[in-house]
C-alpha cells in the first residue's frame, strides 16, 4: 500500500517537469524509509531449506535448529541461484572465538573473489584484523569507517546495501562502511551484478564456526521508482542496468517510462523511448511469454490516454499497433 502511494507520488513529481530532480531526491529518501518495511523483503534463508542456494560438491553448510551452520574442516562456499544487482541484504550472524567467514556480493561463483568482493566476518583473533580486513570491511578494498561490535558468540545483525555505485554495510544498525565503488581503483573490474555467497568457515582452528539466520533480501531492481532513477545515471553501465531491469519488469514499467519520456531530461527521454521499444520487441517475440505480451499490451493501451505529450502518445500508439498486429494473427 505504502509502496503504491510512493509510486503515485513519484510519478506525479515526474509529471511536473522542472522538479524532476526534487522528485527523485524525495523518492530516494522514501526508498530509504521504505527499507524499514519488512514487506519488501523476501527470504533467502528462513531456517527451513536451501532452496535459494546452490550447495557446493563438498558441502560445508548445514541447517541445524533452523540456523545455517558452517564449521567443518572442508567445504565449499554457498551461493544464491539468482544473481542480484541492486539490493538490501539483511542477515544475522554469529562467530565463534576463531570464526572466519564472509558475505560475497556481486560475484560470479566461478571466480568469486576475482569478480566480486567479500564483506568480511571475522572474530578478532588474527593478526590481520586491521580496518581493511575486519568484520564489515570490503575485504582488502574498502576499510571500515566505524568498527563494529566484534563480540563473538552472540548474534549480530548485518545489512548490506548495493545501490549502483554505492555499497553500504551496517552492523547492528550502525553503518560501518560506505564505498563509492567508482572511486576504488581495485574495484574497477568488479561485476555490478552477481550471486550472493556465504563463505565457508575457514579459520582452520579448533572450535571454529560461523552461523547465519534470517537472511532476507529486498531486490531494488523490481521496484519501478528505483529503476526509473537509474535512467538518470550519467554512468552508462548503471543506465544499462536500469534498462535491463525495466525490460525484465515489463508492463509495470510502461507508465513510468511513458512519463519519463514526456519529461525534459534527454538521458531519461531517450532511454525510456528505447526501453519501451525493446519491451515491445520482447513482447512480440513468437517464442516469448504470452503473459508478458498481454500485460505489456494492456499497459500500453492504458498509458496512452494518461500522457500529456502528443509525441509520446503517438509513440505509444505506434508500439501498441505493433503488439496488436502480432496478437491478431
Amino acid at each position: 500500500m505504502v509502496a503504491a502511494l510512493i509510486e503515485k507520488y513519484y510519478l506525479k513529481m515526474l509529471k511536473m517537469k522542472n522538479i524532476v530532480s526534487i522528485g527523485l531526491f524525495a523518492t530516494l529518501l522514501l526508498i530509504s524509509c521504505l527499507g524499514q518495511e519488512d514487506d519488501d523483503f523476501t527470504a533467502l534463508f528462513d531456517g527451513r531449506n536451501l532452496d535459494e542456494w546452490i550447495p557446493g560438491p563438498e558441502g560445508g553448510f548445514e541447517i541445524i535448529n533452523g540456523e545455517l551452520y558452517t564449521g567443518g574442516e572442508e567445504g565449499n562456499d554457498l551461493f544464491t541461484k539468482k544473481w542480484y544487482c541492486n539490493y538490501v541484504l539483511r542477515l544475522e550472524y554469529m562467530l565463534s572465538d576463531v570464526g572466519n567467514s564472509g558475505v560475497l556480493i556481486r560475484c560470479n561463483p566461478e571466480a568469486a573473489w576475482e569478480t566480486g568482493v567479500e564483506v568480511q566476518l571475522l572474530a578478532p583473533w588474527t593478526p590481520w584484523r586491521d580496518d581493511l580486513h575486519c568484520t564489515g570491511s570490503l575485504y582488502g578494498h574498502v576499510a571500515v569507517a566505524n568498527r563494529p561490535d566484534e563480540t563473538t558468540g552472540i548474534w549480530h545483525k548485518m545489512e548490506i546495501k548495493c545501490d549502483r555505485h554505492t555499497i553500504r554495510v551496517s552492523v547492528d544498525d550502525s553503518m560501518t562502511t560506505l564505498a563509492k565503488i567508482d572511486t576504488v581503483i581495485t574495484m574497477a573490474d568488479k561485476l555490478i551484478c552477481g550471486a550472493i555467497g556465504l563463505q565457508v568457515n575457514h579459520a582452520e582452528k579448533e572450535g571454529q564456526y560461523a552461523k547465519f539466520r534470517n537472511i532476507y533480501i529486498r531486490d531494488l531492481d523490481v521496484e519501478p521508482a528505483y529503476i526509473c532513477e537509474g535512467f538518470y545515471e550519467t554512468d552508462s553501465v548503471f543506465r544499462a542496468q536500469a534498462y535491463s531491469a525495466a525490460l525484465n519488469l515489463g508492463a509495470e514499467m510502461v507508465e513510468p517510462l511513458a512519463l519519463m519520456m514526456s519529461g525534459e531530461n534527454p538521458l531519461a527521454k531517450s532511454g525510456s523511448k528505447q526501453v519501451l521499444f525493446d519491451m515491445v520487441a520482447r513482447a512480440t517475440d513468437p517464442q516469448g511469454e504470452e503473459k508478458y505480451k498481454d500485460d505489456v499490451a494492456d499497459a500500453l493501451n492504458n498509458s496512452a490516454d494518461g500522457v500529456s505529450s502528443q509525441i509520446v502518445k503517438e509513440y505509444l500508439e505506434w508500439l501498441s499497433g505493433m503488439i496488436k498486429n502480432s496478437t491478431d494473427e
Binding site: S236, R239, A240, E264, P266, L267, K269, S270, Q274, F277, D278, V280, A281, R282, T284, D285, P286, Q287, Q310, I311, E314, Y315, W318, G321, M322, I323, N325, S326, D328, E329
Partner: protein
C-alpha cells in the same frame, strides 16, 4: 532553342532492361535536360556539381527546407556558372508543379526519399535519387509501382556502380574462374556515434523543421537530429550500415544477383553515449538459396581486409576475391593476382553514373541502377535492421516479401506517414 516535348509510341525493348511500353516524354539528343535538385546538403552539393557540368543540363531549380543551405548552394552554383538562371524553393511541391522540369535529383534525408520520388514520378519527372532507396520496405514497393505506372526513369545514386573496378570484378566472378561462389563477406568499419544528450531547442527561423520531418513522427528539434547526423536515428535512417550497404552490396548484386533470401540473423549494439539509436556495431548473417552473405562492422579475418574500411570478399570453390571500390585481389591456390587476362570483357562499361542516367532520360531505357535492380539490392539491409531492432532471427519469404511467423517484424516493414503526408 525552343524546347520540344511530345509523346511517342515505342515497341523497342532491350534484353535485360525493363520494357517501357506505351508512352513517354521525348527529349531530343540536342535538347537540354532541365534539372532541379532537392536537398542541399553535402550530397546535394555533389549533385549540383556533377549535373551542372554536363553541357546538356540546365540547372533550373534548387530546393531545401533550410534557407541558409539553399542560399549557400545557389552561390556556389553561380560562382561556377555565372549565367545560370536558377530558382530556389523551400517546398519541393512547387518544384514538382513546374511543367518545364524534366528531372529531379533527391539528396534529402532517407525518410523523404520515397515520397519525393513517388510524387516526382506522378508529376512526370525522372529521378536521380540518393541511397538508400527509401526509409521502409513498403515505400520501395510503392515507389516501384508508381515508377512503372508512370514509365519514369530512376537511377539510385550508387555512383560506385559505374566504376571500371566493379565491372571487372563482376566479369571475373561471372567467368567462373573462382569456381562456385558460396560465401560473400561484406564489411564497413565504424558505427553510429552516440551524439551526447542535448536538450531540445527551438529550430532556427531559416529551417522549416516540420517540413524537414515530413512523414516522420513529430519530434522536438535538436541540431544533431538534423543536418549531418540524422542518419544515426532510426526515426529517419539506418545508420552507417544503412548508409553504406548500397555501395558495397552493389558488387554482390552486379556479380551474382543472389536470389531466394530466406533467413536474416543480426546482432549488434546501440551507442550508450547519446540519443542516437542506430547500430554502434552490427553483424548480419543472410542466407540466400545459393549464397551465404555476411556483414560485419569489423573486417573479416581474410588477408588484407584489416586495411580496408569497406570491402567485399567472395569465397568460391576454386579461389577468392577481395575488393573495395577501386581495388581487387584475386587468390587462386597460392597465386595472388589483380586480374586474369583470359577473362573477356563482357559487360558494357558505364559512361559514368550521372551520364548513364541522363542518357536514359533521353533514350527512355532504364539506367544501370534502376528501381527494379536497386530495390532488390537494398532490400536485405532493411530486413537486417528490423532483426537488429527486434533482437531476433527472422525468416523471410522472398516471394511474398513478408516475414514468416513474425507479425511484429512485418509491422516494421512499413511506417504510417504523419499527416498530411501519405503514400499512394
Amino acid at each position: 532553342m525552343k524546347r520540344r516535348r511530345f509523346l511517342k509510341n515505342t515497341a523497342i525493348g532491350f534484353v535485360g532492361l525493363p520494357l517501357l511500353s506505351s508512352t513517354y516524354r521525348y527529349i531530343a539528343p540536342s535538347d537540354k535536360i532541365r534539372v532541379a535538385h532537392i536537398g542541399m546538403g553535402n550530397m546535394g552539393r555533389a549533385h549540383l556539381n556533377w549535373f551542372s557540368d554536363f553541357n546538356d543540363v540546365e540547372t533550373v531549380a534548387l530546393c531545401d527546407v533550410d534557407e541558409v543551405r539553399l542560399r549557400e548552394k545557389l552561390k556556389l552554383l553561380q560562382e561556377k556558372h555565372p549565367l545560370t538562371k536558377t530558382d530556389t524553393y523551400t517546398d519541393f511541391r512547387h518544384v514538382l508543379d513546374r511543367k518545364d522540369i524534366d528531372v529531379i535529383t533527391c539528396a534529402t534525408p532517407d525518410h523523404w526519399h520515397a515520397l519525393i520520388a513517388i510524387m516526382a514520378f506522378q508529376s512526370g519527372k525522372d529521378v536521380y535519387g540518393e541511397k538508400p532507396l527509401s526509409y521502409s520496405v513498403q515505400e520501395g514497393q510503392v515507389m516501384k509501382r508508381i515508377w512503372e505506372e508512370n514509365e519514369a526513369v530512376f537511377q539510385l545514386g550508387t555512383q560506385i556502380h559505374a566504376t571500371e573496378n566493379y565491372h571487372r570484378v563482376a566479369e571475373i566472378i561471372q567467368s567462373g574462374s573462382l569456381g562456385k561462389i558460396h560465401t560473400v563477406r561484406l564489411w564497413k568499419t565504424g558505427g553510429s556515434p552516440g551524439l551526447g544528450f542535448p536538450a531540445s531547442e527551438i529550430p532556427p527561423d531559416s529551417l522549416d523543421w516540420n517540413m524537414w520531418l515530413g512523414p516522420a513522427p513529430y519530434e522536438e528539434y535538436t541540431p544533431v537530429r538534423c543536418h549531418g547526423t540524422f542518419r544515426y536515428f532510426f526515426d529517419y535512417s539506418g545508420g552507417v550500415f544503412g548508409d553504406f550497404w548500397c555501395h558495397i552490396a552493389d558488387i554482390v548484386y552486379m556479380s551474382l544477383n543472389p536470389q531466394g533470401l530466406y533467413s536474416i540473423d543480426t546482432r549488434g549494439e546501440r551507442p550508450w553515449d547519446g540519443i542516437a539509436d542506430t547500430p554502434r556495431w552490427i553483424e548480419a548473417d543472410f542466407k540466400f538459396r545459393d549464397l551465404d552473405l555476411y556483414w560485419t562492422t569489423t573486417p573479416p579475418p581474410v588477408p588484407g581486409a584489416e586495411k580496408m574500411h569497406i570491402g567485399a570478399h567472395f569465397e568460391g570453390t576454386d579461389g577468392s576475391l577481395t575488393c573495395d571500390y577501386n581495388t581487387r585481389t584475386i587468390r587462386i591456390g597460392n597465386e595472388m593476382l589483380d586480374d586474369v587476362a583470359e577473362i573477356p570483357q563482357t559487360l558494357p562499361r558505364s559512361p559514368g553514373h550521372q551520364r548513364n542516367f541522363l542518357d536514359a532520360v533521353k533514350s527512355r531505357k532504364q539506367p544501370e541502377s534502376n528501381l527494379t535492380y536497386a530495390r532488390e539490392m537494398a532490400l536485405p539491409m532493411y530486413l537486417a535492421l528490423i532483426s537488429f531492432r527486434l533482437k531476433r532471427k527472422l525468416k523471410w519469404n522472398s516471394l511474398t516479401e513478408q516475414f514468416e511467423g513474425d507479425p511484429a517484424a512485418n509491422y516494421l516493414l512499413s511506417r504510417a506517414y504523419r499527416a498530411p503526408w501519405s503514400l499512394p
